[in-house]
Protein backbone atom coordinates (compact mmCIF):
# COMPACT_ATOMS: atom_id res chain seq x y z
CA UNK A 1 0.00 0.00 0.00
CA UNK A 2 1.85 3.01 -1.25
CA UNK A 3 1.59 6.64 -0.23
CA UNK A 4 0.18 7.53 -3.64
CA UNK A 5 -2.64 5.10 -3.19
CA UNK A 6 -3.34 6.37 0.29
CA UNK A 7 -3.57 9.99 -0.87
CA UNK A 8 -5.76 9.07 -3.82
CA UNK A 9 -7.99 6.91 -1.65
CA UNK A 10 -8.47 9.71 0.87
CA UNK A 11 -9.30 12.19 -1.90
CA UNK A 12 -11.72 9.78 -3.53
CA UNK A 13 -13.52 8.86 -0.34
CA UNK A 14 -13.67 12.47 0.79
CA UNK A 15 -15.07 13.56 -2.56
CA UNK A 16 -17.71 10.88 -2.73
CA UNK A 17 -18.67 11.24 0.91
CA UNK A 18 -19.08 14.97 0.39
CA UNK A 19 -21.11 14.25 -2.71
CA UNK A 20 -23.53 12.15 -0.72
CA UNK A 21 -23.59 14.42 2.31
CA UNK A 22 -23.64 18.04 1.18
CA UNK A 23 -26.83 20.06 1.13
CA UNK A 24 -26.51 21.90 -2.15
CA UNK A 25 -27.09 19.60 -5.10
CA UNK A 26 -24.58 21.41 -7.33
CA UNK A 27 -21.93 21.16 -4.62
CA UNK A 28 -22.69 17.45 -4.47
CA UNK A 29 -22.03 17.02 -8.16
CA UNK A 30 -18.84 19.07 -7.99
CA UNK A 31 -17.61 17.00 -5.05
CA UNK A 32 -18.54 13.90 -6.96
CA UNK A 33 -16.32 14.92 -9.87
CA UNK A 34 -13.46 15.02 -7.39
CA UNK A 35 -14.36 11.47 -6.46
CA UNK A 36 -14.56 10.38 -10.09
CA UNK A 37 -11.23 12.01 -10.85
CA UNK A 38 -9.74 10.22 -7.83
CA UNK A 39 -11.01 6.89 -9.14
CA UNK A 40 -9.54 7.74 -12.54
CA UNK A 41 -6.20 8.48 -10.90
CA UNK A 42 -6.36 5.12 -9.15
CA UNK A 43 -6.92 3.47 -12.54
CA UNK A 44 -3.86 5.26 -13.83
CA UNK A 45 -1.95 4.08 -10.81
CA UNK A 46 -3.05 0.53 -11.64
CA UNK A 47 -1.51 0.94 -15.13
CA UNK A 48 -4.93 1.04 -16.78
CA UNK A 49 -4.24 4.24 -18.67
CA UNK A 50 -6.94 3.89 -21.26
CA UNK A 51 -9.68 3.19 -18.74
CA UNK A 52 -8.55 6.00 -16.49
CA UNK A 53 -8.64 8.57 -19.28
CA UNK A 54 -11.98 7.24 -20.49
CA UNK A 55 -13.24 7.58 -16.93
CA UNK A 56 -12.26 11.26 -16.87
CA UNK A 57 -13.74 11.90 -20.27
CA UNK A 58 -17.04 10.14 -19.58
CA UNK A 59 -17.63 10.97 -15.94
CA UNK A 60 -16.08 14.41 -15.51
CA UNK A 61 -16.71 15.56 -19.05
CA UNK A 62 -20.16 14.12 -19.66
CA UNK A 63 -22.00 12.60 -16.70
CA UNK A 64 -21.21 15.41 -14.26
CA UNK A 65 -22.15 18.04 -16.83
CA UNK A 66 -25.36 16.13 -17.59
CA UNK A 67 -26.14 16.01 -13.90
CA UNK A 68 -25.62 19.74 -13.37
CA UNK A 69 -27.75 20.44 -16.41
CA UNK A 70 -30.48 18.26 -14.97
CA UNK A 71 -30.19 20.06 -11.62
CA UNK A 72 -30.44 23.43 -13.34
CA UNK A 73 -33.47 22.35 -15.33
CA UNK A 74 -35.30 20.90 -12.36
CA UNK A 75 -34.47 23.71 -9.98
CA UNK A 76 -37.50 24.90 -8.07
CA UNK A 77 -36.93 28.09 -6.14
CA UNK A 78 -38.56 27.33 -2.83
CA UNK A 79 -38.64 29.76 0.05
CA UNK A 80 -38.11 27.03 2.63
CA UNK A 81 -35.35 24.51 2.07
CA UNK A 82 -36.67 20.97 1.93
CA UNK A 83 -34.87 18.42 4.06
CA UNK A 84 -31.85 16.92 2.34
CA UNK A 85 -32.36 13.40 3.45
CA UNK A 86 -35.22 11.07 2.85
CA UNK A 87 -37.60 10.16 5.67
CA UNK A 88 -36.03 6.75 6.11
CA UNK A 89 -32.43 7.98 6.08
CA UNK A 90 -31.58 6.08 9.26
CA UNK A 91 -32.58 2.77 7.73
CA UNK A 92 -30.64 3.58 4.56
CA UNK A 93 -27.46 4.40 6.40
CA UNK A 94 -27.74 1.29 8.53
CA UNK A 95 -28.17 -0.84 5.42
CA UNK A 96 -25.19 0.82 3.74
CA UNK A 97 -23.03 0.37 6.83
CA UNK A 98 -24.07 -3.26 7.05
CA UNK A 99 -23.19 -3.81 3.41
CA UNK A 100 -19.78 -2.29 3.98
CA UNK A 101 -19.23 -4.40 7.07
CA UNK A 102 -20.06 -7.59 5.21
CA UNK A 103 -17.93 -6.69 2.21
CA UNK A 104 -14.98 -5.67 4.36
CA UNK A 105 -15.24 -8.84 6.36
CA UNK A 106 -15.33 -10.90 3.17
CA UNK A 107 -12.36 -9.08 1.68
CA UNK A 108 -10.24 -9.29 4.80
CA UNK A 109 -10.89 -12.96 5.33
CA UNK A 110 -10.40 -13.93 1.71
CA UNK A 111 -7.20 -15.71 0.87
CA UNK A 112 -7.25 -14.71 -2.79
CA UNK A 113 -6.85 -11.06 -2.01
CA UNK A 114 -3.55 -11.38 -0.21
CA UNK A 115 -1.36 -12.08 -3.22
CA UNK A 116 1.43 -9.70 -4.20
CA UNK A 117 1.63 -7.30 -7.14
CA UNK A 118 2.53 -9.02 -10.41
CA UNK A 119 4.93 -7.26 -12.81
CA UNK A 120 3.57 -4.35 -14.77
CA UNK A 121 1.70 -5.59 -17.84
CA UNK A 122 2.53 -4.02 -21.17
CA UNK A 123 -0.86 -2.89 -22.39
CA UNK A 124 -0.83 -0.52 -25.31
CA UNK A 125 -3.88 1.15 -26.76
CA UNK A 126 -3.29 -0.89 -29.90
CA UNK A 127 -3.81 -4.11 -27.96
CA UNK A 128 -7.04 -2.80 -26.54
CA UNK A 129 -8.18 -1.85 -30.01
CA UNK A 130 -7.26 -5.27 -31.37
CA UNK A 131 -9.12 -6.96 -28.57
CA UNK A 132 -12.18 -4.76 -29.14
CA UNK A 133 -12.19 -5.52 -32.82
CA UNK A 134 -11.53 -9.26 -32.63
CA UNK A 135 -12.25 -10.97 -29.37
CA UNK A 136 -14.85 -8.50 -28.09
CA UNK A 137 -16.43 -7.42 -31.33
CA UNK A 138 -19.89 -8.69 -30.45
CA UNK A 139 -20.05 -6.86 -27.12
CA UNK A 140 -18.76 -3.79 -28.89
CA UNK A 141 -21.55 -3.93 -31.46
CA UNK A 142 -24.13 -4.52 -28.76
CA UNK A 143 -22.72 -1.58 -26.88
CA UNK A 144 -23.07 0.58 -29.96
CA UNK A 145 -26.68 -0.52 -30.28
CA UNK A 146 -27.29 0.16 -26.60
CA UNK A 147 -25.80 3.63 -26.80
CA UNK A 148 -27.87 4.47 -29.87
CA UNK A 149 -30.98 3.18 -28.14
CA UNK A 150 -30.12 5.19 -25.03
CA UNK A 151 -29.53 8.30 -27.11
CA UNK A 152 -32.87 8.02 -28.90
CA UNK A 153 -34.64 6.95 -25.74
CA UNK A 154 -33.27 9.85 -23.73
CA UNK A 155 -34.29 12.32 -26.42
CA UNK A 156 -37.78 10.84 -26.70
CA UNK A 157 -38.35 10.76 -22.95
CA UNK A 158 -37.02 14.22 -22.29
CA UNK A 159 -38.80 15.78 -25.27
CA UNK A 160 -41.52 18.22 -24.37
CA UNK A 161 -44.74 16.65 -25.55
CA UNK A 162 -46.70 19.86 -25.37
CA UNK A 163 -45.05 21.14 -28.50
CA UNK A 164 -46.50 18.32 -30.57
CA UNK A 165 -50.05 19.21 -29.71
CA UNK A 166 -49.60 22.79 -30.78
Amino acid sequence: MTVTFLILAVITVAGTAAAMGLRNAVHCVLALTVGFAGVAAIYLQLDAQFVGLTQIMVYVGAVAILAVFAIMMTHTPLPAKPPTYSSFWLLGSVVAAAVFAVLAWAICSSAASTQGLPPEPEVSVQQIGDALMHQFVLPLEIMGLLLTAALIGAVVIAMDRREETK
Binding site: F50, M57, G61, I65
Partner: protein
Protein backbone atom coordinates in the same frame (compact mmCIF):
# COMPACT_ATOMS: atom_id res chain seq x y z
CA UNK B 1 26.02 21.54 -35.34
CA UNK B 2 22.48 21.36 -36.72
CA UNK B 3 21.86 18.36 -34.55
CA UNK B 4 23.11 20.18 -31.48
CA UNK B 5 21.00 23.24 -32.19
CA UNK B 6 17.96 21.06 -32.69
CA UNK B 7 18.52 19.26 -29.41
CA UNK B 8 19.85 22.25 -27.49
CA UNK B 9 17.09 22.23 -24.90
CA UNK B 10 17.30 18.48 -24.37
CA UNK B 11 21.07 18.62 -24.02
CA UNK B 12 20.88 21.58 -21.65
CA UNK B 13 18.44 19.70 -19.47
CA UNK B 14 20.67 16.65 -19.37
CA UNK B 15 23.67 18.79 -18.58
CA UNK B 16 21.79 20.44 -15.73
CA UNK B 17 20.61 17.08 -14.45
CA UNK B 18 24.21 15.99 -14.15
CA UNK B 19 24.62 18.32 -11.17
CA UNK B 20 21.95 16.72 -9.00
CA UNK B 21 22.21 13.36 -7.23
CA UNK B 22 20.64 10.38 -8.96
CA UNK B 23 17.89 10.02 -6.40
CA UNK B 24 16.61 13.54 -7.10
CA UNK B 25 16.94 13.25 -10.85
CA UNK B 26 13.36 12.19 -11.70
CA UNK B 27 11.77 15.09 -9.87
CA UNK B 28 14.35 17.57 -11.15
CA UNK B 29 13.84 16.30 -14.68
CA UNK B 30 10.09 16.82 -14.32
CA UNK B 31 10.56 20.33 -12.96
CA UNK B 32 13.03 21.22 -15.70
CA UNK B 33 10.53 20.05 -18.32
CA UNK B 34 7.43 21.60 -16.82
CA UNK B 35 8.77 25.03 -15.89
CA UNK B 36 9.66 26.08 -19.47
CA UNK B 37 6.15 25.14 -20.56
CA UNK B 38 4.65 27.04 -17.64
CA UNK B 39 6.68 30.09 -18.59
CA UNK B 40 6.81 29.80 -22.35
CA UNK B 41 3.15 29.48 -23.16
CA UNK B 42 1.95 32.32 -20.93
CA UNK B 43 4.65 34.40 -22.60
CA UNK B 44 3.22 33.37 -25.93
CA UNK B 45 -0.17 34.38 -24.55
CA UNK B 46 1.18 37.83 -23.77
CA UNK B 47 2.61 38.18 -27.24
CA UNK B 48 -0.57 36.88 -28.78
CA UNK B 49 -2.75 39.45 -27.04
CA UNK B 50 -0.57 42.15 -28.57
CA UNK B 51 -0.52 40.46 -31.98
CA UNK B 52 -4.23 39.94 -31.91
CA UNK B 53 -5.02 43.52 -31.06
CA UNK B 54 -2.61 44.86 -33.64
CA UNK B 55 -3.79 42.39 -36.26
CA UNK B 56 -7.47 42.97 -35.60
CA UNK B 57 -6.84 46.68 -35.82
CA UNK B 58 -5.18 46.40 -39.20
CA UNK B 59 -7.89 44.05 -40.45
CA UNK B 60 -10.37 46.78 -39.62
CA UNK B 61 -8.24 49.69 -40.86
CA UNK B 62 -7.22 50.80 -37.39
CA UNK B 63 -3.82 51.20 -35.74
CA UNK B 64 -4.34 48.95 -32.74
CA UNK B 65 -2.47 49.66 -29.51
CA UNK B 66 0.44 52.02 -30.18
CA UNK B 67 0.87 54.03 -27.00
CA UNK B 68 2.76 51.77 -24.60
CA UNK B 69 6.26 51.40 -25.91
CA UNK B 70 7.34 51.12 -29.52
CA UNK B 71 4.41 49.81 -31.60
CA UNK B 72 2.52 49.26 -28.37
CA UNK B 73 4.79 46.35 -27.54
CA UNK B 74 4.48 46.84 -23.79
CA UNK B 75 0.70 46.64 -23.92
CA UNK B 76 0.65 43.11 -22.41
CA UNK B 77 2.79 44.34 -19.52
CA UNK B 78 0.47 47.29 -18.97
CA UNK B 79 -2.51 44.93 -19.07
CA UNK B 80 -0.84 42.62 -16.59
CA UNK B 81 -0.11 45.44 -14.18
CA UNK B 82 -3.65 46.69 -14.52
CA UNK B 83 -5.27 43.34 -13.91
CA UNK B 84 -2.97 42.57 -11.00
CA UNK B 85 -3.64 45.84 -9.22
CA UNK B 86 -7.38 45.82 -9.75
CA UNK B 87 -9.70 45.18 -6.88
CA UNK B 88 -10.84 41.60 -6.64
CA UNK B 89 -14.60 41.79 -6.40
CA UNK B 90 -16.67 38.80 -5.38
CA UNK B 91 -20.45 39.17 -5.50
CA UNK B 92 -22.06 39.12 -2.08
CA UNK B 93 -24.32 36.16 -2.79
CA UNK B 94 -21.70 34.25 -4.76
CA UNK B 95 -20.56 30.84 -3.69
CA UNK B 96 -17.13 31.95 -2.56
CA UNK B 97 -15.27 28.65 -2.65
CA UNK B 98 -16.52 27.62 -6.06
CA UNK B 99 -16.11 31.16 -7.33
CA UNK B 100 -12.47 31.04 -6.30
CA UNK B 101 -11.83 27.52 -7.58
CA UNK B 102 -13.27 28.01 -11.07
CA UNK B 103 -10.49 30.17 -12.61
CA UNK B 104 -7.82 28.08 -10.89
CA UNK B 105 -9.29 24.86 -12.29
CA UNK B 106 -9.66 26.40 -15.73
CA UNK B 107 -6.06 27.59 -15.90
CA UNK B 108 -4.75 24.32 -14.49
CA UNK B 109 -6.77 22.22 -16.91
CA UNK B 110 -5.61 24.38 -19.79
CA UNK B 111 -2.00 23.72 -18.85
CA UNK B 112 -2.45 19.98 -18.50
CA UNK B 113 -3.00 19.48 -22.21
CA UNK B 114 0.55 20.56 -23.03
CA UNK B 115 1.93 17.44 -21.40
CA UNK B 116 1.45 15.40 -24.56
CA UNK B 117 2.24 17.99 -27.23
CA UNK B 118 5.55 17.27 -28.96
CA UNK B 119 7.06 20.73 -29.20
CA UNK B 120 10.19 19.51 -30.95
CA UNK B 121 12.16 16.38 -31.67
CA UNK B 122 12.45 14.52 -28.33
CA UNK B 123 10.72 17.45 -26.71
CA UNK B 124 7.53 16.10 -25.18
CA UNK B 125 6.77 16.11 -21.48
CA UNK B 126 5.13 12.70 -21.35
CA UNK B 127 5.20 10.26 -24.22
CA UNK B 128 1.89 8.74 -23.26
CA UNK B 129 0.52 5.69 -24.94
CA UNK B 130 -2.94 7.25 -25.06
CA UNK B 131 -1.78 10.78 -25.60
CA UNK B 132 -4.60 12.05 -27.78
CA UNK B 133 -7.19 10.54 -25.45
CA UNK B 134 -5.45 12.24 -22.53
CA UNK B 135 -5.59 15.53 -24.36
CA UNK B 136 -9.33 15.32 -24.95
CA UNK B 137 -10.01 14.00 -21.45
CA UNK B 138 -8.20 16.96 -19.92
CA UNK B 139 -9.97 19.29 -22.31
CA UNK B 140 -13.33 18.14 -21.02
CA UNK B 141 -12.43 19.36 -17.53
CA UNK B 142 -12.58 22.91 -18.85
CA UNK B 143 -16.35 22.56 -19.24
CA UNK B 144 -16.68 21.89 -15.56
CA UNK B 145 -14.61 24.96 -14.72
CA UNK B 146 -16.81 27.04 -16.97
CA UNK B 147 -19.91 25.73 -15.27
CA UNK B 148 -18.43 26.44 -11.85
CA UNK B 149 -17.67 30.01 -12.86
CA UNK B 150 -21.10 30.60 -14.29
CA UNK B 151 -23.05 28.98 -11.52
CA UNK B 152 -21.12 30.32 -8.55
CA UNK B 153 -21.38 33.95 -9.65
CA UNK B 154 -25.13 34.06 -8.95
CA UNK B 155 -25.77 36.19 -11.97
CA UNK B 156 -28.23 35.55 -14.77
CA UNK B 157 -25.74 36.58 -17.39
CA UNK B 158 -22.97 34.36 -16.16
CA UNK B 159 -25.29 31.38 -15.77
CA UNK B 160 -26.68 31.86 -19.26
CA UNK B 161 -23.18 32.27 -20.61
CA UNK B 162 -22.01 29.13 -18.87
CA UNK B 163 -24.97 27.14 -20.18
CA UNK B 164 -24.31 28.37 -23.69
CA UNK B 165 -20.61 27.64 -23.37
CA UNK B 166 -21.17 24.12 -22.08
CA UNK B 167 -23.80 23.30 -24.70
CA UNK B 168 -21.44 24.55 -27.38
CA UNK B 169 -18.37 22.79 -26.04
CA UNK B 170 -20.17 19.47 -25.66
CA UNK B 171 -21.67 19.75 -29.13
CA UNK B 172 -18.33 20.50 -30.72
CA UNK B 173 -16.33 17.99 -28.73
CA UNK B 174 -17.92 15.21 -30.78
CA UNK B 175 -16.81 16.59 -34.17
CA UNK B 176 -13.44 17.54 -32.69
CA UNK B 177 -12.72 13.97 -31.65
CA UNK B 178 -14.23 12.47 -34.80
CA UNK B 179 -12.17 14.78 -37.01
CA UNK B 180 -8.99 13.79 -35.24
CA UNK B 181 -9.75 10.08 -35.53
CA UNK B 182 -8.65 9.99 -39.18
CA UNK B 183 -5.10 10.93 -38.21
CA UNK B 184 -5.14 8.37 -35.42
CA UNK B 185 -6.39 5.70 -37.83
CA UNK B 186 -3.64 6.42 -40.29
CA UNK B 187 -0.88 6.58 -37.69
CA UNK B 188 -2.22 3.50 -35.93
CA UNK B 189 -1.52 5.00 -32.55
CA UNK B 190 -2.92 7.36 -29.95
CA UNK B 191 0.56 8.51 -29.03
CA UNK B 192 1.28 12.01 -30.26
CA UNK B 193 4.95 11.21 -30.76
CA UNK B 194 4.10 8.26 -32.98
CA UNK B 195 1.66 10.38 -34.99
CA UNK B 196 4.33 13.00 -35.64
CA UNK B 197 6.92 10.35 -36.48
CA UNK B 198 4.55 8.89 -39.02
CA UNK B 199 4.40 12.27 -40.80
CA UNK B 200 8.10 13.07 -40.58
CA UNK B 201 9.18 11.40 -43.85
CA UNK B 202 9.58 13.06 -47.25
CA UNK B 203 8.79 12.11 -50.83
CA UNK B 204 11.19 14.20 -52.88
CA UNK B 205 10.95 17.50 -51.08
CA UNK B 206 7.34 17.05 -50.01
CA UNK B 207 6.54 15.97 -46.47
CA UNK B 208 4.14 13.19 -45.55
CA UNK B 209 1.84 15.45 -43.63
CA UNK B 210 -1.67 14.19 -43.25
CA UNK B 211 -3.06 17.51 -44.41
CA UNK B 212 -1.80 16.74 -47.92
CA UNK B 213 -4.38 14.00 -48.44
CA UNK B 214 -8.08 14.38 -49.24
CA UNK B 215 -9.19 13.09 -45.86
CA UNK B 216 -6.44 15.04 -44.14
CA UNK B 217 -7.44 18.40 -45.50
CA UNK B 218 -11.10 17.79 -44.68
CA UNK B 219 -10.17 16.50 -41.25
CA UNK B 220 -7.96 19.52 -40.65
CA UNK B 221 -10.68 21.94 -41.72
CA UNK B 222 -13.29 20.24 -39.55
CA UNK B 223 -10.85 20.08 -36.65
CA UNK B 224 -10.09 23.77 -36.90
CA UNK B 225 -13.79 24.71 -37.07
CA UNK B 226 -14.50 22.57 -34.04
CA UNK B 227 -11.43 23.94 -32.27
CA UNK B 228 -12.62 27.49 -32.87
CA UNK B 229 -15.94 26.61 -31.30
CA UNK B 230 -14.28 24.67 -28.50
CA UNK B 231 -12.13 27.63 -27.51
CA UNK B 232 -15.14 30.00 -27.67
CA UNK B 233 -13.60 32.23 -30.26
CA UNK B 234 -15.32 34.35 -32.85
CA UNK B 235 -17.43 33.53 -34.86
CA UNK B 236 -18.51 31.01 -32.22
CA UNK B 237 -18.19 33.36 -29.25
CA UNK B 238 -21.84 33.24 -28.24
CA UNK B 239 -20.99 32.37 -24.64
CA UNK B 240 -19.44 35.80 -24.26
CA UNK B 241 -21.49 37.75 -26.76
CA UNK B 242 -21.08 41.32 -25.57
CA UNK B 243 -24.35 42.52 -26.99
CA UNK B 244 -26.41 39.80 -25.36
CA UNK B 245 -24.85 38.54 -22.15
CA UNK B 246 -21.98 40.99 -21.78
CA UNK B 247 -19.09 38.65 -21.05
CA UNK B 248 -20.72 35.33 -20.39
CA UNK B 249 -19.56 33.14 -17.59
CA UNK B 250 -16.76 35.36 -16.31
CA UNK B 251 -18.75 38.55 -16.07
CA UNK B 252 -18.52 38.61 -12.27
CA UNK B 253 -14.77 38.19 -12.21
CA UNK B 254 -12.30 41.00 -11.99
CA UNK B 255 -8.61 41.57 -11.60
CA UNK B 256 -6.36 38.58 -11.54
CA UNK B 257 -9.14 36.00 -11.73
CA UNK B 258 -10.37 37.59 -14.91
CA UNK B 259 -6.84 37.47 -16.26
CA UNK B 260 -6.73 33.77 -15.39
CA UNK B 261 -9.87 33.18 -17.45
CA UNK B 262 -8.34 35.06 -20.32
CA UNK B 263 -5.15 33.06 -19.96
CA UNK B 264 -7.06 29.80 -19.83
CA UNK B 265 -8.98 30.66 -22.96
CA UNK B 266 -5.87 31.46 -24.92
CA UNK B 267 -3.97 28.48 -23.56
CA UNK B 268 -6.85 26.30 -24.68
CA UNK B 269 -6.61 27.83 -28.12
CA UNK B 270 -2.87 27.20 -28.28
CA UNK B 271 -3.31 23.65 -27.06
CA UNK B 272 -5.95 22.78 -29.65
CA UNK B 273 -3.86 24.48 -32.33
CA UNK B 274 -0.86 22.46 -31.17
CA UNK B 275 -2.97 19.32 -31.38
CA UNK B 276 -4.06 20.25 -34.91
CA UNK B 277 -0.40 20.72 -35.82
CA UNK B 278 0.49 17.38 -34.27
CA UNK B 279 -2.34 15.52 -35.95
CA UNK B 280 -2.36 17.06 -39.40
CA UNK B 281 0.52 19.47 -39.97
CA UNK B 282 3.36 17.12 -39.14
CA UNK B 283 4.14 18.44 -35.67
CA UNK B 284 7.68 19.72 -35.53
CA UNK B 285 8.72 18.46 -38.97
CA UNK B 286 9.86 20.91 -41.63
CA UNK B 287 7.58 21.63 -44.59
CA UNK B 288 10.32 20.80 -47.13
CA UNK B 289 13.11 18.29 -46.89
CA UNK B 290 15.76 20.95 -47.60
CA UNK B 291 14.63 22.97 -44.60
CA UNK B 292 15.26 20.28 -42.02
CA UNK B 293 18.36 22.11 -40.78
CA UNK B 294 16.12 24.61 -39.01
CA UNK B 295 15.48 23.36 -35.44
CA UNK B 296 12.31 21.40 -34.94
CA UNK B 297 10.86 23.60 -32.18
CA UNK B 298 11.15 26.60 -34.49
CA UNK B 299 8.90 24.83 -36.95
CA UNK B 300 6.40 23.95 -34.25
CA UNK B 301 6.11 27.53 -33.06
CA UNK B 302 6.06 28.86 -36.61
CA UNK B 303 3.09 26.64 -37.36
CA UNK B 304 1.48 27.60 -34.08
CA UNK B 305 1.83 31.29 -34.88
CA UNK B 306 0.46 30.69 -38.36
CA UNK B 307 -2.62 29.01 -36.92
CA UNK B 308 -3.03 31.81 -34.38
CA UNK B 309 -2.84 34.29 -37.23
CA UNK B 310 -5.56 32.30 -38.94
CA UNK B 311 -7.69 32.48 -35.80
CA UNK B 312 -7.18 36.24 -35.64
CA UNK B 313 -8.01 36.62 -39.32
CA UNK B 314 -11.23 34.65 -38.89
CA UNK B 315 -12.09 36.67 -35.82
CA UNK B 316 -11.61 39.90 -37.70
CA UNK B 317 -13.78 38.75 -40.56
CA UNK B 318 -16.80 36.76 -39.53
CA UNK B 319 -19.80 37.95 -37.53
CA UNK B 320 -21.13 35.95 -34.64
CA UNK B 321 -23.43 33.04 -35.40
CA UNK B 322 -26.86 32.54 -33.94
CA UNK B 323 -27.37 29.68 -31.50
CA UNK B 324 -29.47 27.63 -33.93
CA UNK B 325 -26.94 28.18 -36.72
CA UNK B 326 -24.18 27.06 -34.39
CA UNK B 327 -25.97 23.87 -33.47
CA UNK B 328 -27.11 23.03 -36.97
CA UNK B 329 -23.58 23.58 -38.26
CA UNK B 330 -22.29 21.08 -35.71
CA UNK B 331 -24.90 18.40 -36.11
CA UNK B 332 -25.94 18.79 -39.73
CA UNK B 333 -22.67 19.57 -41.45
CA UNK B 334 -19.54 18.88 -39.41
CA UNK B 335 -20.68 15.63 -37.82
CA UNK B 336 -21.77 13.88 -41.07
CA UNK B 337 -18.67 15.15 -42.82
CA UNK B 338 -16.44 13.85 -40.03
CA UNK B 339 -18.07 10.42 -40.20
CA UNK B 340 -17.72 10.36 -43.97
CA UNK B 341 -14.13 11.43 -43.60
CA UNK B 342 -13.43 8.40 -41.45
CA UNK B 343 -14.78 6.20 -44.23
CA UNK B 344 -12.60 8.09 -46.67
CA UNK B 345 -9.50 7.52 -44.58
CA UNK B 346 -10.29 3.82 -44.43
CA UNK B 347 -10.66 3.60 -48.19
CA UNK B 348 -7.41 5.53 -48.65
CA UNK B 349 -5.68 3.05 -46.39
CA UNK B 350 -6.80 0.00 -48.33
CA UNK B 351 -6.59 1.26 -51.91
CA UNK B 352 -3.30 0.92 -53.80
CA UNK B 353 -1.38 4.16 -54.10
CA UNK B 354 -1.84 6.10 -57.31
CA UNK B 355 -3.93 8.64 -59.13
CA UNK B 356 -7.09 6.56 -58.83
CA UNK B 357 -6.85 6.61 -55.06
CA UNK B 358 -6.56 10.36 -55.10
CA UNK B 359 -9.54 10.75 -57.40
CA UNK B 360 -11.80 8.35 -55.51
CA UNK B 361 -10.94 9.72 -52.11
CA UNK B 362 -11.32 13.32 -53.21
CA UNK B 363 -14.69 12.55 -54.77
CA UNK B 364 -15.90 10.80 -51.62
CA UNK B 365 -15.41 13.90 -49.50
CA UNK B 366 -15.85 16.67 -52.06
CA UNK B 367 -19.16 15.61 -53.59
CA UNK B 368 -21.07 15.18 -50.30
CA UNK B 369 -19.49 18.39 -49.01
CA UNK B 370 -20.87 20.35 -51.94
CA UNK B 371 -24.22 18.55 -51.86
CA UNK B 372 -24.59 18.98 -48.12
CA UNK B 373 -23.64 22.60 -48.43
CA UNK B 374 -26.18 23.16 -51.17
CA UNK B 375 -28.84 21.36 -49.18
CA UNK B 376 -28.16 23.43 -46.10
CA UNK B 377 -28.03 26.59 -48.15
CA UNK B 378 -31.49 25.88 -49.48
CA UNK B 379 -32.51 25.44 -45.89
CA UNK B 380 -33.87 28.72 -44.59
CA UNK B 381 -31.43 28.89 -41.68
CA UNK B 382 -28.38 29.60 -43.78
CA UNK B 383 -29.95 32.00 -46.22
CA UNK B 384 -29.43 35.70 -46.28
CA UNK B 385 -31.72 37.29 -43.78
CA UNK B 386 -34.16 39.86 -45.03
CA UNK B 387 -35.36 42.62 -42.80
CA UNK B 388 -38.81 44.07 -43.01
CA UNK B 389 -38.15 47.57 -41.78
CA UNK B 390 -34.42 48.03 -42.03
CA UNK B 391 -34.40 48.42 -45.80
Amino acid sequence: MTQALDQIFVLTKQWLLGFVPASAQPICSAILSVVPVLIGFPLLFAITTWLERKGLGRLQNRYGPNRTGPYGLFQPIADAIKSLTKEDIVPLTADHTVHFLAPVLLAAASFLGYAVLPIGRNMVLVNMNAGVLYFFAVGSVVELAVFMAGWSSRSKYSLLGAMRAIAQMISYEVPLVLASIVAIMQAGSLSTVAIVDKQAGYTGIWPHWFVFTPWGVVGFALFMIAATAESNRSPFDLPEGESEIIAGYYIEYSGFKFALFFLGEYLGMFATSGMAITLFLGGWSAPFSFLTWIPSYVWFFAKLLALIAGFIWIRGTLPRLRMDQLMSLAWEFILPMALLNMLDAGIWHFMPAGVLRWLVCTAIVAVPCVLLGQGLKRNKKFQVRTYQFAK
